[in-house]
């Protein structure tokens, strides 16, 4: 079984700040990591390959330094990794990104399953996985917490807000996975060494035969027009004093406002 896992390198978002003067993101010194949900996707793929044979290929679209995320994925045990990188991809929104990934998958050709994390940690959109499935014309099953493959069918347990759903679909298909699905493995020393030596090919827009009008800013219908720090004006009241005074002041305020 051949599985493609799409990953994204993301900044560790808890560290991102906005420059109050220039109103732009300060990203220097912010560590980059594999999007945590994508680690669950890699783990899911590795388990399936262990069970059914085949190979696991990791792809990512990003700047050259995103190859570090691919190295990390190889160190977890993935067989192959491909970076898709071109200046033409800069400024991609989710539509352009899913198109670019679809062209990459087409170039790889043979696959039974595509697995993605349910969403990226930085953008939180959950739009690229379904977009990719649509461009490839294959079924999607989102929010998977469990996945079994038998023959040409996948049986997926979905985690929804108030229920689970068991869905059966045909392969090839695209699955997005939730964190609760598994515990991603740590890199083994052997795989770390292997990953270090492994050449990671970098494919350009031309390599994947992408129409550059559909990539990057050109191919992105949405545009960010303003980035700003959230409104953090304080309108509240501090209840001062020792703990007993604070607590009794609070209780009487809550009573006054009739919220308790």
């Amino acid at each position: 079984m051949n599985i493609i896992v799409c990953i994204k390198q993301v900044p560790d978002t808890t560290e991102v700040k906005i420059d109050p003067v220039t109103n732009t993101l300060v990203r220097e010194g912010v560590p980059s990591i594999i999007n945590p949900f994508d680690e669950n996707a890699i783990e899911c793929a590795l388990q399936l390959v262990e069970k059914h044979g085949g190979q696991c290929t990791i792809i990512t679209m990003g700047p050259p330094q995103a190859s570090q995320a691919l190295k990390d994925a190889l160190a977890m045990g993935a067989d192959e990794a491909i970076l898709v990188s071109d200046r033409a991809f800069a400024g991609s929104d989710t539509l352009a990104t899913s198109y670019t990934l679809a062209q990459t998958v087409r170039k790889i050709g043979d696959y039974d399953l595509i697995i993605c994390g349910k969403q990226a940690f930085d953008g939180d959109t959950a739009q690229v996985g379904p977009g990719l499935a649509e461009h490839l014309g294959i079924p999607q099953v989102t929010y998977a917490i469990d996945l079994e493959v038998e023959g040409k069918k996948a049986k997926v347990k979905r985690l929804l807000s108030d229920r689970f759903e068991i869905v059966e679909t045909r392969l090839p298909c695209l699955i997005t996975v939730v964190k609760q699905m598994n515990e991603p493995r740590h890199a083994s020393l052997k795989n770390v060494m292997k990953a270090r030596k492994k050449e990671i090919p970098s494919w350009t827009a031309a390599d994947i035969e992408a129409d550059t009008d559909r990539c990057g800013l050109n191919g992105s219908p949405t545009n960010v027009v303003r980035v700003f720090a959230p409104d953090r004006h304080s309108h509240g009241e501090r209840l001062e004093g020792e703990v007993p005074e604070q607590v009794s002041a609070l209780v009487s305020k809550l009573r006054e406002k009739m919220v308790i």
Binding site: L95, T142, L239
Partner: protein, 399 residues
């Protein structure tokens, strides 16, 4: 938006006929051909085993935006009722459409759902596009995408709003990719720019540390998902009526790739859901260890409140994800929200700042949570929370 059949590749197998919801493919001289009823919904594309049906997305600069008008809300139903998020979006959509001087329509797809039209009207719908079919009884990506893309291509709405639920996110991204529309996820603010008449979509980005306003200049429709409880429901006006525009579709269970084999609802969970609760007591990293959630639970119990949690505590595995409040968790709008040891990353604030009354307990006086709190208590939560629990027990006569 263009769709065509490559007659060289077409083998005349008729699979696409079964897949077309609009009955818009006919066989002419052993080859498939689209009739005038074709809405370019795209349902046939993946049904063709020979790659003979090709869909091309119109380039954004070629979209004639003037052809698009009106605001649509895509309905989500639960157990035969309209989901709250649908009513919230109708209420918000009404305000936006009034600024544009346009209509609000609800797209209602399902099985026997016509009875929901009056409620949609009461919350602001002028029209309801009604699609009823047994195949649409439960939400599934493929048939819903095709049916709704068909309607969008036929009636050309300017704006489409969808709840950012598991269903809405699954559906909206698929529709947007099929028709080449711009889609913005999890908007916390929507407004119309008076000059350009564009929809200004504001959402938290980078884990909520910044806010971004996004527009979609050339592609249409402009699509947004909005989380439950972000927008406020209007007062229903039962005197309002909505025009029904019925769309008949031909759907064939056999041509749909995915089947729902089973739905499992977790019974017997005695824990109150944060989205249902009037009062929420939430814990954050300040609790230091998972066991200390007991302090939060004790306070919650006294108040009859639900237990909430920050992303950090859920990610650390201290508490199950369904307690999570925030941009990646649930958005809540309780009467009272008590945050214990939560610093208040914007990602968390995005999920709870519209609570009527917010109390923050934190040892760090500069924690951002104090900026949204109505009442802030700077102090050690290990002292303050038990003292508050005790005081409330007394106040509420539980001793």
């Amino acid at each position: 938006m263009g769709i065509y059949i490559d007659s060289e590749k077409c083998t005349g197998c008729k699979l696409c006929l079964a897949a077309c919801p609009y009955g818009a493919i006919e066989m002419v001289d052993g080859k498939a051909r689209f009739t005038d009823d074709c809405t370019s919904c795209g349902a046939c594309v993946s049904s063709c085993k020979f790659g003979a049906i090709v869909m091309e997305i119109t380039r954004k600069e070629e979209v004639d935006t003037s052809q698009y008008s009106g605001l649509w809300v895509l309905a989500e139903t639960h157990d035969g009722k309209l989901a709250d998020v649908t009513l919230e979006l109708l209420s918000e959509g009404r305000k936006l459409a009034d600024e544009l001087g346009e209509d609000v329509s609800l797209v209602l797809a399902g099985q026997e759902v016509e009875g929901l039209v009056p409620i949609a009207a009461a919350y602001g719908a002028d029209k309801v596009y009604l699609v009823e079919h047994e195949v649409l009884a439960q939400y599934r990506t493929d048939p819903f995408t095709s049916v709704i893309c068909g309607l969008i291509n036929k009636y050309k709405p300017e704006i489409v709003l969808i709840g950012a639920t598991t269903m809405g996110r699954d559906l909206a991204s698929r529709i947007a990719a099929r028709i080449g529309a711009g889609l913005t996820a999890d908007c916390t603010g929507l407004a119309i720019d008076p000059e350009t008449r564009l929809l200004m979509q504001t959402r938290p980005a980078f884990g909520g540390n910044v806010m971004a306003t996004i527009v979609c200049r050339n592609a249409r429709p402009q699509m947004s998902t909005v989380r439950p409880r972000v927008m406020k429901k209007a007062e229903p006006d039962t005197s309002r009526q909505a025009e029904i525009i019925r769309q008949s579709v031909e759907l064939n269970e056999k041509s749909i790739a995915s089947k729902i084999l089973e739905v499992i609802r977790e019974e017997g969970s005695s824990e109150l859901d944060v989205q249902e609760a009037e009062i929420i007591v939430s814990g954050g990293r300040g609790l230091r260890k998972p066991e200390n959630f007991a302090l939060v639970r004790e306070l919650a119990e006294v108040l009859g409140a639900a237990v909430g949690a920050s992303r950090a505590t859920v990610d650390a595995g201290w508490i199950p994800a369904y307690h999570q409040v925030g941009q990646t968790g649930k958005t809540v709008q309780p009467k009272l929200y008590i945050a214990c040891g939560i610093s208040g990353a914007v990602q968390h604030l995005a999920g709870m700042s519209s609570a009527d009354c917010i109390v923050a307990i934190n040892s760090d006086p500069s924690a951002p949570i104090f900026n949204v709190a109505h009442y802030g208590l700077v102090g050690d939560l290990f002292e303050v929370v038990p003292a508050l629990t005790k005081a409330l027990k007394k106040e509420l006569g539980q001793e």
